[in-house]
Every structure is written in C-alpha cells, then in structure tokens.
C-alpha cells in the first residue's frame, strides 16, 4: 500500500503545489473591493491588503500564517460575490494541502466543490480551478488511502463530457497511477493485473495521439508500466514516439516507425500461433493498431532525408567545433559518423524494398479479416490492387481479397477476381485454391452448370493442381450434376470417381450419392444393389437412416409394390431411431411418416376397387332377398377403407408435426392434409395442426399462410356437421307427418262429396305442419348461424392475438400485413351504402368496425408502446380504405401524422401514411416520413414509396435536380417495386423541366406505349409530349402541329382524365389562336376545340374551363 511518504506522492504533491502556485497569479485583484473611492485614492481596501498579505505568506511558504490570514479574510468578507468567497476557500484548501492536513484539506476542498459550482469563475483567468481542486481532492483522498473514493471521483471526471479536455486526460493518468501504486506491496500476480488495468486506462488517455503535454505525460507513464511488465519493445517504441513528438526529431520519427512495425510483426506472428481465440483476436488488434500507426513510404522517405540532414549537420557542428578533438570528443564524432552511416544504410535498404506500403496494407487487411471486419479488409486489399499491383505477395492478396468479397456478399465480383487471377498467374501456388473457390461460389449460388464449367476449366487448365484439389474438383463436378438432377451423368461421374479414388475420404458419401442417382432415375433394381453395397460397406454409416428409408421406398416403388414390406421397414425404422435425436434422423422422420401415409393411401386405392365391385354386386342384388348381405359386404370394405384412410391421415399428421426442420416434407403433407381433412369435416383437427405449425415460428415467411388456414378452419368449425344432421332429423320427423297430411288433402280433393270445411281443415293441417317444420328448421339454422358467428369471433381473436404479439415491435414488418388482413375481415361485416344513405338502425357500421378493431388489437395491453398506438390508428385507417370511407382514413392517418415521429413508426406505416400526406399536400411531414425510409429502410419492400414521394416533393418545389437524382437512384438500384410508373413519370417531367427534351421524350413515349400502365399517366405523358414540342417550337409551325397532335391524342383518347384533357384542349386552342397560325380558319378551329371542351361537364368548371371561356370570347 502506498504510504504518505512515497516518492511518487511526494512528487505529486510538489506538482500540485507547483500548480496551485505557478498557474495562479500570486496576487490578483479582489475586484469587488478594488473600486477606488473618489475621496480615498491612496487608501487601499483593507480586505485587499489582507488578501495580499495572505498571498505573500503563501508564496513564502508560511502556510500556517497564510491559512490564518485567509480565515480572517473569510470572516471579514461576508458580503462579497460568491467567486471571491470561492477564491478564499480555494486558497485555504491549498494551505491545508501544503500543510499535509489531509482531513481538513479534504473537508475544505469538498466544501469548495460543493458550494461553488462555478468555482473561482473568471477571477484568476479562464480556469475556474474546479479541475485542479478535483484533482487535489483526489490526491488528498489517496494520501489517506481512500482509494475507492479517489477512483470514483476520477471516473466521474473521465466520463464527464463537460470537463476540460486536459482534466479528462489527467484523470485517466491519475487513475492509472493510483491503480498501479496501491498494489506496490502486493504479490506479483496482483501487481500484473493492476498494471494491465492501468495500461488500459493510459491507452485511453493516449488514444487520440500524444500531441499535448498531458497526453505525453500519460504516454510517459505508459512507458514506465511497459517497462515494469517487461514489454521492452513497446516501451522503447513509445519512448521514441514521445521524443519525436516532443523535439520533432526526424531520426526519432524513423526509429519509432520501425519499432512500431517490428511490434506489429511480433504481434501478428503471436496471433497466428495463438490457440485461444480471444487471445488471438487481441494479438490481431494490437498488430493492427501498430501497423495503422506506421508511416507510408512517401512520408518515411522524407523523414529519412530530414534525419540524415540533421545527423549530418550535427556531425559538421562537432567537426567544426573540435578541430583537434580530445578522446571523448573524437568518440562523439565517431558516434555521429556511425549514426549518419547507419541512417544512410537503412535508407538504401528501404529504397530497395518496393513492397513497404503494400505489405502494411496486406497485414492490415489480414488483421481486419481475422477480426471479422470484412468491409475494412476489403478496403485494405483494394488499396494494394490500386496502388501496388506489383506487390510480391499479389497472389496471396488475390486469395484473401476474394475471401473478403465473399464475406461481404459480392460473389460476382469474387468470381471475376478469381478468373482474373487464374488468367494472370496460371502457375502461382494459389491457383488450386482460387480455382476451387471459383467453382465453389457458383455451387453455393446453385448455379450448377456454371460451377461445373468452372471446375472443368480449372481441371483442364491449371497445371499445378494438387492431388487433393484434383480429387475435390472431380467430386464437386459430380455433386453439381447431382444437384442439378442430371442423374445419369451424375451417376456415371460418381462411378468413375469410385474407380479412380478408391481410398477417397468421401467414398462413403459417393457410394450413397451414386445409389441415389439410380433411385431418382426410378431404376429400383440398381438402387437396391447400390444401397445394399452401402449397407455392407458402412453398416453404421452416417447416411444409414436415409438408406433404410430409401430401401423402403424401393419396395413401395417396384412393380408390383410390396406395401406390407414397405410398412414393415418404415415401422422398423421408426422403432430403431425412436431415441435418436441426430439432425439426420430428425429430418428423415417426417419422410418415413409420409411414406407410411402414402402406403396406406395406396392400400385404400386397392380397396376402392373392392368397394366398386361390392357396389355393383349390391346394385345387381338390390331387389333380391339377400340384399342385406351385399349391403353388409359393401359396408365392411368401406369401413376397411375408412380405417386405412384414418391411418394415412394419422401418418401425414405425424409427418407434419415432426417436419419442423424439413420444409419440403412439411409442404407435401400439408398439401395432402388440406385435400383430405376439410372434406371429412375435420376442421378442428385442421385448425389444431396449423396452429401448432404456425406457433413454431411466427416470423417464418410461410407463417401467414399457416395463420390463414387456422382462421379458415376456425371459421368452418362453426358450421358443424351436427347442424346438418339436426336439420335432416327434423325434416325426417316432419316428412312422414306432412306426407300423411298431404295425402289426406289429396284424398279429400278426389272425393266427390267433401265439404269445404273438411278440405280447409286438412289444408290447414298441412300448412300448420309446414310452418312447424319451417320453425324447427329455423331454430336449427339460428343455432348454426350463432355457431358460425362464434367461430368467426374465435378466428378473429386468433388473428388479433397474432397481431398483438408483434404490435409493439417496430421492426416486425409482418405486423402491418396481419393488421391489413384483420381489417379486411372486419370490414366485410360492414354493409356498403351509397353516399348520403344512412345505415339502418342496429346495422354494423364502420364505427363499429373501428371499435371492434381497437378491441381486438388489445391496445390496453400496450399502453406504453408508441408503435402499438400508431398501429391501432393505422388499422382503423385501413378499415376506412376497405369500407371506402375516406373520412375514417383521413382522421386516423392524420392522428399518426400529428402525433408520431418517423423513428417511432414502421416502414409500412411511414410509406402508406407518407403517401396519404403527400396527396393531402402536407409535404413537410410526408418528407420527414419518406426521408426516414431513405435513411433507414432502403431495403424495405416499400422503399420505392419513399423515392417516388421524395422525388415528387422535390419536383413540386421545383428542385428538379434533386428529384431527378432520386429517380435515377431508384432506377439504377432497381427500387421500383410498385412505384415504377410514378418514378419514371417524375423523372421524365424533371428532364423536361430541365430542358433535356430528347431524354424526356423517350421516357414519356415509353410510358405512353406501355400497355400495363395505360391510364392517367398515359394521358399525362401525351400532354407533356405536346408541351415539350410546344416549348421547343419557337414559332416553328411544324413543331407546333406536332404538339397539337399529341394534345389531340390526349383529349380524344383520355377524356376521363379531365385534368389532362382540359389542359390539352386549351393548349391546342391557344396554338391555333395565335401566330404562326392565327388566321381566320385557324381561329375557327380553335373555337371548335374550345366549344367541344366546354361541352364536357367535368371540364367546363375547371380552371382551364374558365380560361377557355375567356379565350373563346376573344376569338
């Protein structure tokens, strides 16, 4: 532990004394007291006198006297500014500190810091002394061994952004010092740990360089600790660097640079040998920081020049000063000569090394690649290609650059670089690896023909392939054929591989894949033989579960099928692998279940034949006495089929439930179950199954489909078969009675003598029965409807629960999809009415829909979630869209716009509400929303809304350059999903506005002739084409005629877009009404056009209509 007498602390105290005295004017104005009185010019303020006396005592190191004088001053100066009180308090603390009265000094400094938040303000200079007081207090705390309190105060300074920069750096240094000093008497391991902690702090203090005195001080401390830890290289390098910074010596600059490089190399070598991953990463980090600190060739060359120059000047001075040197002087001269020579030699060697810069970039690139910073690594390697293409390790650079490109997802670029390398360096050592990479990239991208082509090219052209690489290439070629389902060539390739590489490490896999090739060709005999070979060679092979499953399929697929055999193998498989939880078995299980299902279905197909036969028999004997026997026979086979179908469904269901990791199997069995279960009225089973699958992962791309099935099945569950049965029962009950009653009516009607009363009574009985039947059926139907309604409510609840799960997660874009789904379902309940018609009393209105929506979203559960609230408004707004009640949308989207910042909303809401705002003309808010998407969500599915919207806003404010730039950006990056037309149209408009008529014309013509885009934009494009011709005409009659032709096409073809038609009419008429037209005949034409225009109801009252009326009068 540190004692108060330690040397370091003595020095520290001395320093603080120096600070307290040196940086503070010994005597300063007590400004409040020094205003001279007009009548007492020569009489000095007694407080000022006392202050000066105290300062003098302090300067003369009479601390006790000084303290007494300051205390006296404090008592007298009660009615002065705070800053003056602070000065006295600060001075008192200084005295106490210098008197080593630690506890009192602590109290006084604490009081100073607590009472005077502005410290001494501007009394001394711009430094209010709070920083010094803080550091002094920390010293005082340390002197009392109050380490933790001292470190806590330092931590506050370190993390305080408002602290003066030098105080912060000093705080780091002092923290490091305390940490290192307090373990002075501790065992070595404790010391080492503390030194490491101190080093970390000092590194932070020097992180921004060592270009200020306080940072250099931290660096000196760092050198000291490096030395203590035996890190001599680091210590020497840092010392040189500090010296270089302190005295600007070019020799030190050069020396420090090479020391840095040496440390970088040592760290890099250590990293490559380190087994522990975190250790390795740390070494790479250190290597990197050293390489990054080195100078580049141009800079270093200049430093060499300066260093040699200064050393030579030094030598000349010595030689001139000592023409007849003594022994010591001669030695100094020799030393100086040697140094000059040494620098010259290093410079020559350095000049010969052409790889200097590239090598640093190479190592930096490797460090960054290892540290998982591929983008930075990409930049480092790219620098070599750009600036040092003749680098001696260019082959290695290619290799790592290609790896980097793959890591950042630029496979096409990676392949181009592979080809470039193979072309340029066919004999390099890396050809094998790069050749493999070339094909591997295509293989990974599932571009198999290309991969095969690359592998074959490498095999045929690269002359120095290693045996292992050649074997791998053969295997990969066969595997690519296999992957692109070229079974016959793949099988041939595998067979050849097996012959060529008998001891290949991938032999097991090749035998297996070879068998699969037979299997997929449907050649079961060969398949069986190939799988048998596998089972013989690898009885415990890794592909055994699949092989056994395929063997079962072979039994199923051979003609005639061996269904019992298949089922037996499957059952055995399930039994054998019941407890095996390996990935292969887990993946295989649903396929085995599916095969069981398929086998049972095959059996049912056999039974279908029996049923058909039984049915024929029954029909044949339908009137015979033993009909019952045939009925029974048919029922028996039907029951048999039912049992087998049940087994198949059970198997498919089991397959589905176990297919979480096997999407292919899952899709297949779900397809089968979708066909079978609803037809059998097993909606609940269907619902439960899909709910289970949906719950596996709500973010799965198919989750929406599963949820849809859950909803549909739940809804269907309401319409239970029981209702049909009940209705049938009721019908049956009444049918006999009704038949009797009707029969009675018939009989009465046929009778000759029947009274009207009798007949009416009989008919009334029929009517009564009919009514009773209808009533009973209505009851059943009511129950059914109630059940359906309940089921629909349940379905909505499931949907709302799903929405609720992600409602407050802004990043879940799926939430909006679910909301739209829900809104659509709820909106269906609202009966659409014509405008102005009021809904019937009790009818379900859009307000009810909105209320239901809010309830279903469980907004009360997400009260604290901003996005949930926004989504609830969005949901109700969506109801407005579905029910075509724009006011509802308006209100709710308006609430979003008024209450939410862009960063609180999801991209979907930003895009949709942004578009709504744009239409409403709120460009500012819309711009904020679109801007956020452009900044944060360019990869969003709705990014095109932002580009189109932002471009529209820019164009509206006549910033065509910006609008054009946005459109070009969207087009260049293919961000055009659903807004391509809008973006292309704005682009064309901006081109026209910036007088780039040729480009604009092409764009407008493309829009006008694209069938899929026929509509308003076609009309607008035609108008713009006319307008452009008109603008370029400059009185040219032909061009004006061309303009009229476009206008005419617009108003003739696209009358329904009145805005564009009106503009076109008016523009045409204007052209005819003036020069170079403007003759009587032209004016008559103009009149005709205007007349036609004003006959259109939708046009006559527009702004153009008004203008047309005025124009017609002037003609």
């Amino acid at each position: 532990m540190l004692i108060s007498e330690s040397r370091t602390y003595k020095l520290a105290k001395a320093t603080l004394l120096a600070v307290l005295i040196a940086v503070t004017p010994v005597v300063a104005h007590l400004r409040g007291q020094t205003k001279p009185l007009p009548t007492a010019e020569k009489k000095e303020d007694p407080l000022a006198v006392l202050y000066k006396a105290a300062e003098k005592s302090l300067e003369e190191k009479k601390y006790k006297d000084a303290l007494a004088q300051y205390e006296d001053l404090e008592k007298q100066a009660t009615n002065v500014e705070d800053k003056l009180k602070a000065v006295v308090s600060f001075r008192k603390a200084s005295c106490l500190y210098l008197m080593r009265d630690w506890s009192k000094a602590e109290a006084e400094l604490t009081a100073f810091l607590t009472k005077y938040p502005r410290g001494t303000d501007d009394f001394f200079d711009n430094d209010n002394r709070r920083g010094v007081a803080e550091l002094t207090l920390i010293e005082v705390l340390s002197s009392q061994a109050k380490w933790d309190a001292a470190l806590a105060r330092l931590e506050k300074i370190r993390s305080n952004n408002l602290a003066r920069p030098e105080d912060r750096v000093n705080a780091f240094t002092l923290s490091a010092k305390i940490i290192a000093d307090r373990v002075k008497n501790e065992p070595d391991d404790v010391k080492k740990a503390a030194y490491a902690q101190a080093i970390a702090l000092l590194k932070q203090a020097t992180a921004a360089g060592i270009n200020t005195p306080e940072r250099r001080e931290a660096a000196y401390k760092l050198v000291e600790l490096y030395t203590k830890l035996g890190l001599t290289k680091e210590a020497a390098q840092l010392k040189s660097e500090i010296d270089a910074k302190s005295n600007g010596s070019p020799a030190e600059v050069v020396r420090s640079n090479f020391q840095r490089l040496e440390i970088g190399d040592a760290r890099f070598a250590a990293a490559e040998q380190a087994a522990d991953e975190s250790l390795r990463a740390n070494f790479y980090r250190e290597a990197l920081s050293n390489y990054q600190g080195t100078l580049r060739r141009a800079n270093l060359t200049r430093s060499f020049g300066k260093a040699i120059e200064s050393k030579t000047a030094e030598l000349e001075t010595l030689t001139k000063s000592y023409p007849k040197p003594n022994a010591e002087q001669a030695a100094n001269i020799e030393k100086a000569k040697a140094e000059v020579e040494q620098f010259k030699k290093i410079e020559t060697e350095f000049a010969a090394n052409k790889d200097y810069d590239a090598f640093i970039s190479y190592r930096i690139g490797l460090c960054l690649l290892e540290l998982k910073r591929p983008w930075e690594s990409f930049v480092a390697f790219k620098d070599i290609f750009e600036n040092s293409p003749n680098f001696s390790r260019i082959a290695g650079t290619y290799y790592y650059y290609i790896l980097t490109l793959r890591q950042i997802g630029r496979s096409t670029d990676a392949q181009a670089k592979c080809k470039e390398f193979l072309d340029k360096f066919p004999k390099a050592d890396e050809t094998s690896a790069i050749g493999l990479l070339l094909g591997e990239i295509s293989q990974d991208r599932e571009e198999f023909p290309e991969a095969i082509k690359h592998f074959q090219w490498v095999r045929d052209n690269v002359k120095n392939l290693t045996a292992e690489t050649a074997e791998e290439i053969d295997f990969r070629i066969a595997a690519c054929m296999f992957s692109q389902v070229d079974w016959a060539p793949a099988q041939k390739a595998f067979a050849e591989f097996l012959k060529k590489y008998e001891r290949s490490p991938v032999r097991q896999q090749v035998i297996y894949m070879n068998a699969l090739c037979w299997f997929f060709q449907g050649k079961y005999k060969e398949t069986k033989a190939a799988f048998d070979l596998y089972q013989t060679e690898y009885p415990k092979g890794q592909f055994l579960p699949d092989v056994r499953y395929r063997q079962a399929i072979v039994k199923f697929g051979t003609a005639p099928s061996d269904i019992p055999g298949t089922l037996q193998l499957c059952e055995q498989w399930l039994k054998d692998y019941e407890k095996d939880r390996t990935d292969e078995v887990i993946n295989q299980t649903p396929e085995v279940f599916t095969l069981i299902g398929d086998a049972n279905i095959r059996l049912t197909e056999e039974i279908d034949k029996k049923i058909k036969a039984a049915d024929l028999e029954l029909r044949e004997h339908s009137k015979s006495a033993d009909k019952a026997k045939y009925v029974e026979a048919k029922a028996k086979v039907e029951k048999e089929k039912e049992i087998l179908t049940g087994k198949a469904i059970d198997a498919y269901e089991a397959a589905a439930k176990s297919a979480r990791t096997n999407p292919q199997a899952l899709e297949f069995v779900l397809g089968e179950l979708r066909k079978m279960l609803p037809g059998r009225g097993e909606h609940k089973r269907m619902r439960d199954l899909f709910k289970e699958i949906y719950d596996w992962n709500h973010s799965d791309p198919k989750a929406m489909t599963y949820l849809y099935e859950v909803i549909r099945s739940t809804e269907r569950m309401g319409d239970m078969p029981e209702f049909g049965q009940q209705a049938e029962k009721v019908q049956k009950n009444f049918s006999a009675k009704l038949a009797d009653a009707r029969k009675k009516v018939d009989e009465l009607e046929r009778r000759d003598k029947v009274t009207k009363e009798e007949l009416d009574a009989a008919k009334a009985a029929v009517a009564k029965l009919s009514k009773e039947l209808a009533d009973e059926l209505a009851k059943v139907e009511d129950s059914r409807q109630l059940s359906i309604k309940l089921a629909k409510s349940r379905a909505l609840k499931i949907l709302s629960d799903s929405v609720g799960e992600t409602l407050n997660d802004r990043t879940q874009e799926g939430a909006e999809k679910l909301i739209v789904f829900l809104a659509e379902k709820i909106s269906r309940k609202v009966k659409r009415l014509k405008p102005g018609v009021k809904p019937a009393a009790g009818a379900f209105t859009s307000d009810d829909a909105a209320a239901e929506m809010t309830k279903l979203l469980h907004i009360e559960d997400h009260r604290d979630s901003v996005v949930a609230l926004a989504r609830s408004y969005f949901a109700v707004g969506q109801i407005g869209i579905f029910t075509r009640e724009s006011a509802l949308t308006e209100v709710n989207f308006g609430k979003i716009a008024a209450n939410f910042k862009a960063e609180e909303l999801s991209p979907t809401i930003l895009a949709m509400v942004g578009e709504h705002l744009l239409i409403k003309g709120d460009h500012k808010k819309a711009g904020e929303y679109f801007g956020y998407i452009l900044e944060h969500g360019r990869a969003s599915e709705l990014a095109d809304y932002a580009f189109a919207g932002m471009a529209e806003i820019s164009a509206a404010s006549k910033n065509y350059k910006e609008a054009l730039s946005l459109c070009n950006e969207a087009i260049d990056n293919n961000i055009l999903m659903s807004k391509e037309l809008e973006i292309r149209f704005i682009r064309a408009r901006c081109l026209a506005e910036t007088e780039k008529y040729a480009e604009a014309k092409k764009e407008f013509e493309d829009i006008a002739k694209t069938k899929e885009w026929r509509g308003e934009k076609t009309a607008a494009s035609l108008y713009w084409l006319g307008l452009m011709e008109e603008r370029q005409a400059a009185g040219n009659k032909e061009k004006l005629a061309a303009a009229v032709a476009y206008y005419r096409r617009c108003y003739m073809t696209w009358k329904k877009y009145e805005a564009w038609a009106a503009k076109s009419y008016l523009s045409s008429a204007k052209i005819f009404s003036k020069s170079p037209f403007g003759e009587a005949k032209d004016k008559a034409d103009a009149k005709l056009i205007l007349k036609e225009m004003l006959e259109k109801d939708r046009i006559k009252d527009t702004r153009e209509g008004q203008e047309a009326k005025a124009l017609i009068l002037s003609l």
């Binding site: 120096a18 040196a22 300063a28 921004a208 035996g230 997802g409 990056n973």
Partner: protein
C-alpha cells in the same frame, strides 16, 4: 518520469525560452535581445509581461523595436525599424505551443486567441527567417477550418497567399487544403473530388491524409456515389487509424454510405445492419464524440439502447463485443508479457 510533468509543460517551455533568449539581428549584424511579451510576471497585480529594461520591446503597431540604453549616465531610448531585421532567433513562443495544444484538445476559441497574439507580434517580420508568423498562420487556418468559418477563412487566405511564406511547400499544401475544405462546404463536389484525389497522392502525415480522405468521401457522398464514398471513408480507420480524431467522422460517413448503398435487391447483404454496426461502434468506442450523438440519432431506438448499455459496460471494464476493434483493448497481464517474448 515523474508526476510533476503532468502540470508543468508551460513552465518547461518558459524555461527553455529563457535559456535561449529572443534576439533580432538587424542589417549590419547588430543583435538586440528582446523581451518575450508572452512571458508573464505573476507577482504583479494584475499579472503583466516580464520586462527587462536592458532588452528591447517590439512595437507591432509602429513596427519598431525600442530599447533603453545608458549612454554616459543618460538614459536614452534607441529605436530601430522592424523592416531592418534580417534574422530572428526566437524559441517556440509559449503562446503558440499552447495554441497548438488547444487545437489538439478541441479548444478552438482559445487556440484562435493564442494564434492571433503570435500573428500580431510577428506580423511586421513575417517573411524574416526565424519568424513564427507562418506557424501561427497555419494554426489559425486550422482553427478557422474546424470552426467552418468560411468568411474568415476567405479573408485570411487572401492575405496569407500573398506572403512569401505561402510559397513554402508545407504551407502551400495547408493553404490548398483550406481552399479545398471551403469548396467542399460550398458544394463544389466534382472539383473537390478531383483535387483531393490529387492532394492525397502528395500530402504527408496521417492527420492530413485522414482529412483529405474525409473531404473527398463527403463530396462523393453528396453526389450519391455511395460505394466510392464508403471506400474513401473506410480508408481513414483502416490506414490512418492513428489519426483517432477523424475516425468517428469516418465511421459515421461509412455508416451513411451503407444506407445509401442499400436496396431491396441487396437485402441479403444486410447493409442496414452493417450500417447500424458502425453506428454502434461509434457509440461504444467514441462515447464522448459528437459523432456518437449523431450515431444515436441515426440508430433505430431499440439498437440505440443496446449500444448505450454496452458502452457503459465497456467503460466499467466489461469485455469488448465481437468485432469491435477500435476500442483500446484491455490487456491481461499474462498476455501482455507473453506477447513481447
């Protein structure tokens, strides 16, 4: 090494100044020792510059040097014109050293005051060998550039460019850089891109290179050449990582470029996540920088909270998250020792 260094740089500089003295050499070889106006006598109220009667005093306004001399018992004041000075021997003025320190600490206003004081003193002798005017002018230029005060830069540069010292290669590069920065701020991006590219190949020093790359990258970004801008930005941390002051700006720029590069077609490259990762790095590694504040604004709020929490953990000595390289590593003692063997 001792702790006293921490607080005594100014004293050291003053001591050094006193040791060598300030001397002006006039035509004909006459040498006058001169009082250092930046050396303050703290014992006077108020503190004032140390004054030695035997030494001369520069009067920058009159452009003269005055010195008292006792000639035959009579005290006379000798005056010489500064225009007659042929050489200056003057150690680094403490005020200039402090101004440079102020620049390095980001205290621009203080730095400007210090540089101005030195400029005023040496103004009449700015082209004389040994004058500190050019050095002070470079400090001032640097500060004005950091303050982005284009009007002041413009006026100052016009005067500066007319001086002889402006023709010195190092000074000329600094002037070119200042002009370049001005153009960048004016939005002359195409010109900035080509000029900065040319300067990059000739300029010295990590700091200058970092600044040039930043200005080039900014102009590339402004012209929506995101990929090229990203490349230029990332060259700063990759190759000039020692110029730490510029790293957060470069990382922030790179983060913005990744966002610009993003599109639905490149969704798989997860460029927004990469961008967010850079923003995270800035918050975690440079928590007190103004770029960290900017990064917080750009980062989605969920990730912002995570970054802030991680930053606190790291500040408290917690482990570095994977991939963070800019933060200074915390060495374990055994690693540190082993590493040097």
């Amino acid at each position: 090494m001792n702790f006293a260094r921490l607080f005594t740089p100014v004293a050291c500089l003053l001591a050094a100044a006193a040791a060598h003295g300030q001397t002006l050499v006039f035509k004909g070889g006459e040498r006058w020792e001169i009082n250092d106006p930046f050396k303050i006598d703290n014992s006077s109220i108020p503190p004032k510059p140390v004054f030695d009667k035997a030494k001369g005093v520069i009067n920058a306004v009159k452009e003269t040097v005055d010195r008292s001399s006792n000639q035959g018992g009579v005290e006379v004041v000798l005056t010489r014109k500064l225009s007659e000075v042929t050489a200056i021997f003057w150690p680094l003025p403490a005020r200039l050293a402090e101004a440079q320190n102020n620049v390095n600490r980001g205290e621009n206003q203080k730095a400007l005051e210090g540089a101005e004081a030195v400029l005023r003193l040496f103004e009449p002798v700015k082209n004389i060998p040994g004058s500190w005017w050019a050095n002070a002018a470079i400090v001032k230029l640097d500060v004005l550039d950091r303050l982005e005060n284009d009007q002041a830069i413009g006026t100052f540069l016009e005067a500066f460019e007319k001086t002889e010292v402006a023709k010195q290669p190092d000074v000329a590069v600094r002037i070119q850089m200042a002009r370049l920065m001005q153009r960048a701020r004016k939005g002359e991006h195409e010109a900035v891109i080509s000029e900065s590219t040319a300067l990059i190949s000739t300029a010295d020093g990590a700091e200058v290179q970092a600044r040039l790359h930043l200005v080039k990258a900014s102009s590339l970004f402004a012209t929506k050449k995101y990929e090229a801008a990203m490349n230029a930005y990332l060259r700063v941390p990759v190759f000039f990582g020692s110029a730490v002051e510029y790293v957060p700006r470069a990382l922030l720029g790179a983060a913005r470029c990744f966002r610009g590069m993003d599109s639905p077609a490149l969704k798989e490259q997860k460029l927004e996540a990469i961008s967010n990762r850079y923003l995270y790095d800035i918050i975690v590694t440079f928590p007190t920088s103004k770029e960290a504040e900017e990064a917080k604004k750009l980062l989605p709020k969920e990730e912002r909270a995570r970054a802030e929490a991680d930053q606190k953990k790291i500040a408290a000595g917690g482990p570095l998250p994977e991939g963070v390289i800019m933060a200074k590593p915390k060495l374990r003692p055994e690693e540190a020792v082993e590493g040097n063997k």
